[in-house]
Subunit: 458 residues, 4 copies
């Protein structure tokens, strides 16, 4: 997964973009980058790590100009190279081309093979680079035509930002898989993955970029183009469940409220006897609040997140894997001891994390552990940008709910139903992609993947 942010027409464009990326940090912790455009020059600052590690005062100050776009990238297993850090920039006869991309193309293998045959030399293993080569091949003098022609050739999930010299272009695929919103700040246009980026900088939320829409922003003017055939919307429901920030509004609803509703629905469905309700912090916090309020059980913080866990914590080898969990999440023995507890988590992927959480609770004295999950079992891979592991590693693709309960060691296990989930999202249930739960994919599935795609660079 990734987060993107761009602004056009603000004299502090670089700084604003830095702040925007900060707000989008949860969408990608592996690397970050910002490119600004100033008087025919491109200024680019990129690096591995968190936004606060990559940029310092000097680099932020150097990002001069009124247009800037930025990107944060998720840490995926495998292809984590510094040359894959986005935004990706090339100089070309058509000018400076810059791209920042969130999503995953489903026809990247075919496109990259064709381009190489004709002499194109690829610099990275990112499918995003394909868009740049498609643009470099275009000969029309009109930027609009070049962009439409290039984007017409790509398929799959994309919310993307382009910068061609001082023109900023935002585009969202016709299915609307990933969120993308439009904002305004002191006359400047902003495009961001989530509204939390607008809130941080006190920008006004204008509207979402619509599925299938391309927006050209130049000299303070915005031109919207709809050049693709419309599709039935397929918003990623996992953004609401897990990925997006709770204070964002995406696909028309505040994430915090959706999560509380997921928890409340879960309370209706699960109906468990317990002394109190507690979240796995912080992922289950909001669903747990919703659960506690609907079930009228006390809400307790039975486990407290340790804020000092740095990336460099060393685990002495004689300790178990569960130990590492205990370092991160401190259970309160005197709260848990001898109690029956409802524990709320947002999702189960491989099952090992939940297993460790249950072990921690058990070791701290909890008597009965009712594990409640605010979404249905995840059984299928995602081709649109969520970095799930392979089907072999998805526990719900291989075990029954009863078996999963045994595996994680809980006294009972309760998943939210597909309907319960869809009842919580606020808008038309039909406009969501639920493929990871239901197996119903809204697009053709790619049969052959480019080796490059295996590095999953979304």
């Amino acid at each position: 997964m990734c987060g993107i942010f761009g602004i056009s027409g603000h004299k502090e464009a670089g700084k604003i973009t830095y702040l925007g990326l900060y707000a989008l940090q949860h969408r990608g912790e592996e690397s970050a980058g910002i490119v600004s455009y100033n008087k025919n020059n491109i200024i680019m600052k990129k690096g591995m790590g968190l936004v606060s590690d990559v940029f310092d005062k000097k680099s932020i100050d150097s990002l001069k100009g009124k247009v800037a776009i930025g990107h944060v990238r998720y840490s995926t297993t495998g292809g984590s190279h510094s040359k894959n850090i986005q935004p990706f920039f090339v100089k070309h006869k058509n000018g400076n081309l810059v791209i920042a991309h969130n999503g995953n193309l489903t026809n990247s293998f075919d496109l990259s093979t064709k381009l190489e045959q004709s002499g194109s030399i690829f610099q990275t293993s990112m499918d995003s680079e394909i868009v740049v080569h498609l643009l470099a091949k275009e000969v029309s003098p009109s930027i609009e035509k070049r962009v439409i022609n290039a984007l017409s050739q790509i398929e799959g999930a994309y919310s993307l930002l382009l910068m061609i010299n001082d023109t900023m272009i935002a585009a969202r695929d016709p299915f609307g898989f990933r969120p993308l919103c439009l904002g305004k700040l002191e006359g400047a246009y902003i495009v961001a993955s989530e509204t939390c980026a607008l809130d941080l900088i006190n920008a006004t939320y204008v509207r979402d970029i619509e599925p299938g829409e391309i927006v050209f922003i130049e000299n303070g003017k915005l031109r919207s183009v709809k050049a693709f055939e419309p599709q039935k919307h397929a918003h990623c429901i996992f953004e609401h469940i897990y990925f997006a920030r709770p204070d964002s509004m995406i696909f028309g609803e505040t994430v915090y409220n959706v999560r509380k509703k997921l928890g409340a629905c879960l309370a209706e469905e699960a109906k468990v006897e317990a002394d109190f309700v507690m979240p796995i912090p912080d992922s289950g916090s909001f669903a747990a609040l919703g659960y506690a309020q609907r079930s009228q059980k006390p809400f307790e913080l039975g486990i407290i997140r340790n804020h000092y866990i740095g990336r460099t914590f060393i685990q002495p080898s004689q300790f178990t894997r569960e130990f590492k969990v205990r370092v991160k999440l401190n259970p309160i023995k005197n709260v848990l001891n001898g109690k029956n507890v409802v524990v709320v988590e947002d999702s189960i992927v491989r099952g090992t994390t939940s297993q460790n959480r249950v072990k921690t609770l058990r070791n701290s004295g909890a008597k009965k552990i009712h594990f409640c999950v605010s979404c249905p079992p995840i059984k299928n891979p995602c081709f649109y940008g969520i970095d799930f592991p392979s089907k072999k590693e998805l526990i719900a693709a291989n075990k029954s709910v009863e078996q999963i309960k045994d595996f994680i060691g809980a006294d009972s296990l309760h998943y939210l139903s597909l309907n319960g989930m869809l009842d919580s999202v606020g808008i038309d249930k039909q406009s969501f992609c639920t493929a990871c739960f239901s197996g119903k994919y809204p697009t053709k599935i790619p049969t052959k993947f480019s080796k490059k795609m295996l590095e999953k660079n979304k």
Copy 2:
């Protein structure tokens, strides 16, 4: 403030100490150090920064031996030098002397002056070094006599660990200002500032080191000595309110429970009308839970702590100070908008932080803000190790509650009463030091401070 941890008789003493310091990180974020003793050699690893920054696998592995003591140190304004990192170690005719100290000596000026007159050369500006020079002057062949003689000369607050070759010695001042507990793990004795350090490594809590007790641990045997005149106990109540970790048990009670009781008492006293109760995260979380449960109002997380705030976040200069708060603590607009809220915080020191929190809530749409504080107004300095600012900067020493309410911009402000606070601590009210609230100091106050003490090294 500082945290200390020591273990004697465990073949992984260095690694265990690393983990112990990890659990005590909240007691001091400025620097960390561990010293172990292995076959007549002292191994020392120290550095500025968090425990996870200071130590890496190589340095932890190098800390061989069966005895080790460690220290984390709080960042105070001023005297933050790398040579002040503890533990402090010297080689001497009496062997290797190592000290780790939490607290504050009140007669350090007199002692250091006397020692310099006789030719002692001080290496640091820490009052802890005084103990080492006093020990170096002692000529008795008995370690016990040397330690008792040296400690008899110091006054004030101290929970300290000494290592003299392979003997580990723990001592706590007769007033018992700071916590210090004794644990056991696989036959080895452990001494730590708080029980959370024992829990992390699955050690058993044995008992507290008693006020005025000196404990000598050598070859798996523990010898307790009480050499000082007993004093009326004066435990620091601010440890319960703010400093200690919620999952620790100190002065006989679990901190989590005390904090919930403080919140419940506050609910009884404040009696405010509101739509819901929310904490200032994370400091007010437990008192807010107690408040919500006692007042039977909904508990919401109206502000969410941003986990990505690194120490290196750059705030572009055109943004206000309140902005920095907003980066750290993300308010949920759609939860706060138009609501009357009870906001619970653990304490108010200067008032500026609370002012910024109120501003953030106001900007996010909150209608009425009732600010509730789970302790009385702080009006006096601490001479026993809490690093309050000068009286000039303590807002409650200079303004009335009404004025503070206006300063922070709340619609109402409610402090917990002194009695309400003492009712929540579980044990004998008389055994606490409340000097910062009441001005009643349990010891003579130093009239003249060593210049060195101004650097406040605890």
Copy 3:
């Protein structure tokens, strides 16, 4: 200027290349890189700085495989970017393409313009990248044909190494501007800019790669191709005067001997009265030796080079520019005081360095300073890879010998004559390029330079 080194068929190819670059360090101090090929994988290590800074044990050990090529690059004013470090590598349908290049193309502007029109995207500002794009456009299944076709399109000075998968290819332009030699070590073929790289590793010198020759080395076999129209040779005489290492043999002669002969010819021509002869260290050392021996005057080391001058020496601002010279080159007052000296230098470019040297000698007590230069006045730019400054900055293009003497402050100034210089080189005088002295260029001069060429990436 640059240095290149490659080896094919040795199980320690990466290590040998590291040593080879070490021996060629004088040809480029700005950056260094090595690429090796191991089982379909390319391993690349590059960095700014000296060979000993760029590589450590770990990186050298990682350069596995039996084929490797390396490059050192000269520090030029302006375009010193880390992405311009060679060797330059791309992955393409034709396999892995790697290039290392010494020289300067004279038709780079025309070629790069044409390539961009057809959709090629350039990654660097090096003319060397053009060769890679020309190769990527070639469709023949024969490597030989692809290479010949690509190289037929480039003009100017080049000694270059290509690696296409495990085939190593060496080529030298038809004029033979830059040196390039072939060696053998334990059955493996080596190609290097100078023979000193062969000597260091105890490899055997086989012969020079001939002007216009392309050599393909694969599976221990060497195939030589001559595909271009022969040209009258135009070896760079400045390699003998200044650039090459004294222990190398280039263009058929040992540089040490040529330099001594230049000094001897200079003694014949200059005929100066003096107490002794001394060099400007180390550039004038060999010519000074030749001068002293021919003139039968004592040889003294009146100035000693300081070996501790690091790149990081700080010159306090109140000191003059001459001071910096004095830090680097320590004059021996008691040797110079009151003496008439012949001072030998290899060349004068801008004149400022010589001016500072004369000042240093004067301040140290020298009475008469006869400045003798072992080449003629440099009056013209070089289009074949020597990084002279612009004509405006070449002192001999703007001043007479008398004026230069006054500028540098010497008592007399003696340049070697063009004939004297050509008499010293050992082989056919006609086979050298003397354009920088005589203005007679052996090729068409480029009328328009690519902006990219302005960054002078030879």
Copy 4:
């Protein structure tokens, strides 16, 4: 060995000291430090490595004040700790005490034992720290008395600088083992190990600090005190042979001239037939010049020092030790091939270096190698600061000249005689220490060494 530099009364004292240390770099490459005194504050910058590595612009600029002293320290095997970097500084009732020391105390074991008994705590393993503790024990209000009392207790070799607040004090032991000179610059007094430090900054040489003299410099005034019993001088002749810089004047003679005379005497004594004379660079350069001139043989540079050898050069493991020599010193094959050569070196210690040099020459084609050494065989340890290896490792203490010749592989080996050496030094032969050659020590030899001394910190 070490180098010291101090200046009093100059507004750029810190910068001047930096330059002074630069000129003295050859006396110690392991670490460097400068301490300046500014308005009751001590400013200290120290670090491991060369002067140019330790200091940057910022640290030099921070060394404010009109008095500063600096130190460079030699890399010895063993005790190379960052806390042993000089100058050594402590704060004490008597004020700020700073010391920089070149030499070696012979009674350090007795002194340090006595001090520890009385409660002193040592911070380092340097004998220089003893002087500081002796000073801290002194109670006289007169600085002069305190210094004289303290220095009266130490024995052995010392040229040292003290700074007590703003008073700079220089002292030299009564034997005058190590050089120490006095200079003036713009009214400020300078004390330095060698005159080359004065020359670099254009300071005037005033005179040497005399053996047994203590000099107090304060407020622009110099007061000289001779408080110790005079001794027969015992200047270290090895300073002339090897250690000092050729452009320095020490013990009354220019080192360059002494070295040429040593070479000339050697030519008289050796009388070898050869094609030419060449030095081992750079150590043998000046003696080789003297040899060639006296013997009227051609002088050649048969081996050229490679200026690119960084400290980080990696030698691939399959290469021999001789290879590393070849990397540093490039032999010119075409000069050496088939020739009979006189090779001049300054000294032989272990013999392994010379062995490698001979091997290099042999591999490069030299026919006959006559190895000529410009001092007698070194047979005895030095107790006065030269860091010779133990007697077991001194080749001349264990082998005859014939055996050494065989060991190093030369065709003949010629040492300069003791008389020949003493004839070259210019002043009274009797005033030199020749203990390392003759075994005649000018002082009592210490029978028992402090463990600390084993770390040989000079």
